[in-house]
Subunit: 273 residues, 2 copies
């Protein structure tokens, strides 16, 4: 087996931008093994030089030229990273010139700005949304007047992680309501949700997959029997259809995709944090 | 006041990669007003054409040429987006040729792969980490044997959002322990944390900022008095110092930055979801 190609996400900030684009790029080269590492907060030439030495050594150990995906803004830092002998992919460089030309002004290179220091309002909005998601998780509180949206579905259909993701990344007040046996035995919307119809979005899931998830949580219980999962999912889907609640299957979707599709369906447009 | 320049993050998948890099790019052009919009799941030429028409209209309405930041992989889609007349910045194009040359193979364009379909193990790891964070939030459960790390600090120092972020994006089992009055009156580590010293990381915060956050939560309480905040923060910081717990101030940091710095300090290297 050949060695994995060393890939480093290097940044003057958190490295999230570099890792996001780098990861997307690597997924397009399936069949190649990569060993990835994130090196954040490289904000001086001295640090960049020492990182370059470390990357050079990793390349020598692997017997393969390393790749650096860099989101460092300062040209001096990028030059210092070049001393590693790695292939350096600069996340911003290709776009600066066309943007400067289009806007008719020079960019202001500000180190580590994208995910760095934040103003109080932004922080506050995220934290408040997060508190909202946690206090309105799993039907704990049913006062949905302030909710931006309410996810509805059977237990373990993916509601909680989606709500938390929406809160963290979009500052959205997302509540979630688990359909209980009582709710499912009727094919109508639970009375307590009727006032919030336009905020509702249904999550469903393949019963076999649901069974697998529940089995991990409460092994060999009635809750995790395939028959229970099949019945609950069928009842929930019938209700979504009768009540015309938009619905998405989470079976093969990532949390990011579920979140994106919910926002698109409900027509909510918020900038991402 | 001039109109805001329309910027569209267009993607065949969730649009997270396009928005992440686009947002980072825009932060370098301070002083320009942008109106941003995310258009995900543009995965056919027909959809791309209709998106192009919408973007052309937005540019005409604003009287400014729009900017598209595209993470569409398929060249036909990108060409269709070009019909909008916008400046199209292609998130992957500049890096494909150098990567292909370096690796000696052609990329496999797979639509919407980065944040799309996921395997069961990946989903499971994230969900389990998330459950862990929620059940070990705020000192609710003190069985830390399985924790990857434990954040320690006074109430409202930023522990919960950081734990949830670490779970969601790194699959890390992050617990958090709030320092109570009893804990703070001693300057030593609480007994229940002593077995987990190497997993501990302290969060601190400027007392004025803490007061502002607590005031929102429980207005005009003893809890939110500046004097209370000052005392608690001073006691916590003294304890971190005596016990040599690594510590970070969250006052001006984003959740992403806190998370990155915690991982760096504890030497935890995980690929990001």
């Amino acid at each position: 087996m050949t060695a994995a190609r060393p890939v480093f996400y290097v940044s003057d900030g958190t490295g999230i931008t570099a890792e996001t684009i780098g990861h997307s790029l690597l997924t397009q080269f399936t069949g190649t093994r990569f060993a990835t590492d994130r090196i954040p907060f490289v904000d001086t030439v001295d640090k960049a030089r020492s990182v370059a030495a470390r990357i050079r050594a990793a390349g020598e150990a692997a017997g393969l030229r390393p790749v650096i995906v860099s989101s460092c803004v300062d040209a001096e830092l990028i030059q210092a990273l070049g001393e590693s002998g790695a292939l350096v992919l600069d996340v911003f460089a290709p776009y600066i010139a066309p943007m400067e030309q289009e806007l008719g002004l020079k960019r202001m290179p500000q180190v580590g700005q994208a995910h760095g220091i934040v103003d109080f309002d932004t922080y506050h909005r995220r934290i408040n949304a997060m508190n909202y998601a946690l206090t309105h998780d799993d039907g704990m509180r049913l006062d949905y007047a302030e909710a931006d949206l309410i996810l509805v579905g059977v237990s373990r259909a993916g509601k909680t992680p989606t709500c938390v993701y929406l809160a963290l990344h979009y500052g959205i007040r997302a509540a979630n309501y688990p359909l209980t046996d009582d709710d499912l035995d009727s094919d109508r919307l639970p009375a307590k949700l009727q006032a919030y119809r336009r905020k509702l979005f249904g999550l469903t899931i393949d019963p076999e997959r649901l069974q697998q998830i529940r089995q991990e949580r409460r092994p060999n219980s009635r809750y995790s029997q395939l028959e229970t999962c099949r019945r609950e999912v069928a009842q929930a889907e019938a209700m979504f259809q009768v009540e015309r609640i938009p619905v998405l299957s989470t079976t093969h979707a990532s949390i990011e995709e579920i979140a994106s599709r919910v926002l698109e369906s409900l027509g909510i447009n918020r900038e991402m944090f």
